[in-house]
């Protein structure tokens, strides 16, 4: 068994090497084709369109999955995921409980040992676990993480077809994120894009139109300045901490909008071999940050040590006017406001009532947003604690990536990865009950995934934030900062 695995491993390596050289040229084409095939067009995917397709079909998940794994299958499985936590809205907790109950009813003989891990800890834990061959059988990971494990061949190959679904039913951006070296290493579970939220009350105070979002990044800078000058409150919730995932999530949309990029991920057919960092577009974006932080001082001073979580409280406390936020932000804020007490509660509810959602502003070049979400992966049997129960893994994955549960598990915070979910009754219910869902959902086609290469975490979480810090502390000029980042990324690509 061991020998066989080793032999397979070596084979894989050979194939991978062969593909690696050609992938740059060959791969993007089918992905682009896929995009056309699903027919998701940013122009037609409007809030109205999203509403119009909801509730059209019904789904029988048990029936669909029974074709893949018989319902009486007996097995055992370790599963790690980033699930609801203390700060999550109550509804999300309930959805997960419902999910586990439904799964237990459908597959009563599969025992699942599920670990709900914190977002901040999970990546490092998973790395050490995989290295120590103590990884779980199955894990659902944030979109950026999978490629590292795929590159190391610590994952098993897995595509929607393996659990009875059609790759065309998933977002092309999402499929890009699970594709490496021409192979598919996971299935998207949920996808979302961020939106722009603002406090209409502060806008009014500052003499701005309370119901009109800034449409361009240039306007954001101007608004921020005006808010600071007129109200003394901070305008835009800038964050630039190193090693914090939400720094690039908020900065890259601006970079792409202005026509820049880290690699060429914003290109129509990205090769992930070119760097776009030392470009006018990126420089414009860094300059915007510089103008807000250094020139206008219209954003929190603590931006360089802050993460997005530290912007929530000021926003809710009516101290901060604009942030780029997750779709679930509204639900979270509402939840927290309702839990506040005394005078806090009144103030918070007022802020929640003043909350407005809009599309992410566009730059000189386009409107763009980070394509986010999660994918589910099966680990390589070699890296697992014990034996891999493939059938049990497939049963779980089929169950969770189907239209029903990919919609329900994404209830408050995201959207189904399986686009058939948009046609279900549950999607309709969500649209009816969740404020601004149509707005955040309509940004999905503008989503650009982070480069699905192993170096992505280093580029996005370290090099880009460091570039920002270099410029914002005036250690370097904007030009020097982008040039410095260019050099670092280039040396990564050169295989340092």
């Amino acid at each position: 068994m061991l020998l066989k695995n080793a032999a397979r491993q070596r084979n894989l390596k050979g194939i991978a090497c062969a593909l690696l050289t050609s992938s740059a040229l060959v791969l993007p084409a089918p992905v682009a084709a896929q995009a056309n095939k699903t027919g998701i067009d940013p122009e037609t995917w409007t809030p109205e369109h999203v509403r119009s397709i909801a509730g059209k079909t019904t789904v029988d998940t048990a029936a669909e999955c029974s074709k893949i794994v018989p319902l009486d299958y007996e097995g055992e499985l370790d599963y790690w995921y980033v699930g609801p936590n203390e700060a999550s809205p109550q509804l999300e907790h309930e959805m997960y409980e419902e999910f586990w109950a439904a799964l237990a009813e459908t597959y009563p003989n599969i025992e699942i040992n599920a670990q709900n891990l914190g977002y901040n800890d999970m990546l490092n834990k998973l790395r050490t676990a995989a290295l120590g061959n103590a990884a779980p059988d199955v894990a659902r990971l944030p979109i950026l993480w999978g490629s590292e494990f795929a590159a190391k061949r610590q994952l098993s190959e897995l595509s929607p077809e393996d659990v009875g679904y059609d790759s065309d039913d998933f977002w092309p951006g999402a499929m890009k994120s699970v594709t490496l070296d021409g192979k598919t290493w996971g299935i998207p579970t949920n996808n979302e894009t961020m939106a722009f939220i603002w406090n209409a009350g502060i806008f009014e105070e500052a003499g701005l139109d309370p119901d009109k979002a800034p449409d361009t990044w240039e306007e954001v800078v101007a608004y921020s300045k005006q808010i600071k000058e007129k109200t003394g409150k901070n305008g835009y919730g800038l964050v630039a901490r190193v090693n914090a995932g939400n720094t690039p999530f908020r900065f890259m949309p601006m970079v792409w909008g202005e026509g820049g990029g880290a690699l060429d991920e914003a290109a129509d057919s990205p090769t992930y071999q070119e760097t776009w960092i030392d470009s006018d577009g990126t420089r414009r974006a860094v300059q915007n940050y510089y103008d807000m932080y250094v020139r206008d001082k219209s954003v929190p001073v603590s931006a360089l040590t802050n993460t997005q979580t530290e912007n929530q409280d000021p926003f809710l406390a009516n101290q901060l006017a604009m942030v780029i936020a997750h779709p679930s932000e509204y639900a979270t804020m509402l939840d927290r406001a309702s839990r506040a007490t005394g005078s806090d509660k009144e103030a918070a509810m007022e802020v929640v009532n003043n909350m407005r959602y809009g599309k992410i502003p566009k730059g000189a070049d386009r409107r763009a947003v980070v394509f986010g979400g999660s994918n589910v992966h099966i680990f390589n049997p070699d890296n697992i604690d014990g034996d891999l129960d493939m059938e049990a893994a497939k049963a779980l994955i089929c169950f969770m990536t189907g239209p029903e549960w990919s919609t329900k598990l994404a209830w408050v915070s995201s959207n189904p990865g399986n686009t058939r979910g948009f046609e279900t009754e549950w999607m309709k219910e969500r649209l009816d009950t969740i404020k601004f869902l149509d707005v955040s959902t309509s940004m999905l086609p503008s989503g650009i995934p982070f480069p699905p290469v192993a170096e992505s975490p280093e580029i996005m979480n370290i090099i880009i934030p460091e570039m920002l810090q270099n410029a914002l502390t005036e250690k370097m000029t904007v030009e020097e900062a982008t040039a410095d980042a260019e050099r670092k990324i280039q040396s990564l690509l050169d295989g340092m």
Binding site: Q115, N120, D121, K125, T128, D313, Q319, R336
Partner: protein
Amino acid sequence: MDKRRITRWHVFGWIFLVFLLIYAVTPLLWMLITSFKSQFAALQYPPDLYPKNPTTEQYVRLLSPQNDVGRQFLRYLLNSIMVSTVTTILGVAVAVPAAYAFSRFRFPGRKALFFSVLFRNMFPAVVFLMPLFIMMRWMGLVNTYSSLVITYLTFGLPLSIWLLKGFYDNIPVQLEQAARIDGCTRFQAFYLIVMPLSAPGIIATAIYSFITAWNEYVYALTFLNDDQKLTLPVGLQRFFTEYATNWPGLMAASFIMSVPVVAMFLILQKYFVRALTEGAVKA
């Protein structure tokens, strides 16, 4: 020495002491004050120097077994108590005979081994994270408290052994001889006569072990996966910084977490000074 004359050194000393007291205690006071503010009240600028509408909501949330957070928190608290206690007991059980042997016996290699024990402090924890994890995995200890206890043991051991050895060096060997003639076995002589004499040292090393284990964060984060098994520092970190930075909550949790060790230390601090005096400094 005891002349009660006030010199300029005394005045200077008192000024210095007041400054130091402010430096040491104000941050703690601010932690307490913040913990009694509501989340929004904490975000006033300039901040209120005392909570205008003091609230205990954070404490209720953390300590009430009625809700999820409270239940989880209490569980983390129990986990931490367990890990720290086991570490402390084992630490003393391991350190005492080793220190005794280093003090009393003259076996070959004694010095080199003594050095090697003291060397532990040289190595930074984060560097060992990966290899230790791999090793714990080999031993099948990942996600168990044993992995933490084994690792934590080594934090306290160098100081414990060094301190206790100093104690044993100062206890005349004739006491044990007398005891053995008086009818003790070798072990009884140690247990009934030498151990009680080194009690301040044992208490001091026990406190030290307990505190280091109680406060440890990096290994606990890496070795434990199971949500139900987390220790307090990791659990708290997860509560409060993942999706929202709730400063009053963080401060309340820091306070609750500090209470047991601070109380223990304040009660037993005189042993600590005595142990250092008799065991480490004088030896």
